[in-house]
Symmetry: C2
Subunit: 123 residues, 2 copies
């Protein structure tokens, strides 16, 4: 079990694209758990539903209806996303509300950006 080192408040450093400078050992170790968290179809759909929901946040009650699985299964996948720092959770009254952590998604998106120079070269 790798320890999650991201600040849950989302104050992660943003990475240069991996195509611009070789990733360090530490950088790769830090990024791999983020990609592992989204390497699952249900977690990708959960992340998308949360991100697309009105106000950018979803109650768990909004999410369970979208899937044909039990509530504990949904909770398990939400916990993985939360532990990786991709979403945050806040209890308000009866329900827990989930919200995407944009700086973490920006970091993951930025690191995968290919640079223009990657296009095939002539000759």
């Amino acid at each position: 079990m790798s320890k999650q080192t991201l600040d849950p408040a989302g104050t992660v450093e943003c990475c240069a694209p991996l195509a611009r400078a070789p990733l360090s050992d530490a950088g790769a170790e830090d990024l791999a758990p983020l990609f592992k968290a989204v390497a699952d179809p249900m977690r990708l759909r959960l992340l998308s539903l949360i991100a697309c929901h009105e106000g950018g946040e979803s109650c768990v009650c909004d999410l369970t209806d979208a899937f044909d699985v039990t509530a504990p299964t949904i909770s398990y996948h939400l916990r993985i996303l939360r532990e990786a720092g991709l979403i945050s959770a806040e209890r308000r009254g009866t329900w827990v509300y989930y919200r995407v952590n944009p700086p973490v998604m920006t970091r993951m998106s930025a690191v995968l950006e290919p640079r223009a120079a990657l296009a095939p070269v002539a000759g």
Copy 2:
């Protein structure tokens, strides 16, 4: 073992950010193996080394020196990246040359882009 459905030539459709419209079942099933391929520190570093190498391509001989692991381990990870469609391989003479597949990386990068509306709303 999931079947890889990406066209190896890289003519994948580019995805809208998952924060713009809820991902479909099929879209999530298609994307998850791509993120699984980069959910490993060594594969992230290999991808970065290939992408950063002069001309955007690397001989396997350029890659083995960067890691303290055996050649079969490198080959194993390169095969996973290739089977996922993230890199392509071409034999020229004695060596196999690897090149990043920019449309696949663009697709992965684009799908993770958070939209501005995800920032916390006032009130």
